[in-house]
Amino acid sequence: MTRRVLALLPLLLASCGGGKTPVGQPPLNTLSSANFSELRERFNRDAGHTRIVVLLSPT
């Protein structure tokens, strides 16, 4: 039983929505093929500003 729970743990954690973003930021957005355009639209909406894109591992 314990082994089965441990085996499923990564799957359970992966389905969690993630943590809370700092004050002043919108909530963490999980990207999928259905909503990926949200990132592109935000980037284009902010076209009047300097923009920084970073790709990082959380661990």
Binding site: A14, C16, G19, P22, N29, S32, H49, V54, L56, S57
Partner: protein
Amino acid sequence: MQGASALESVLKEQAGPDIRVYVVWERILATDYAAPGSGVLARVSDPRAVQYWDPDLLLSKMAQPVLAADPARVVGKKSLVTGKYVWDYEAIYPPGVTWDAAFPLPELQGAPVADVAKDLMERYWNSRSKSARVRR
């Protein structure tokens, strides 16, 4: 994780400039099985930032062919762009650049973020002030 802290330090030094930041956390390492928790997200606390969790590496898959086509433009470790996935990577875009079908080529880019964040920002503002002087 050091990359996020380096980015945060750079943003603290750039309090005035009009900047927007998109932090995309990727499932890249074997340990990245869960979305980033509050502690990780707090590493970039600047209110100008928007944070995303990209478990399917959608951004990396879209950006990699574009960026890997010209690795000479990458400051630092080029293999973080030319490998299968783009990660621990930073790109800076000036006002006016839009993202159409393909991922847009940045004005400045580099990896890993912890090593290049400060340098990229300095280069960016230097190039902006030079081009402003030329226009005058």
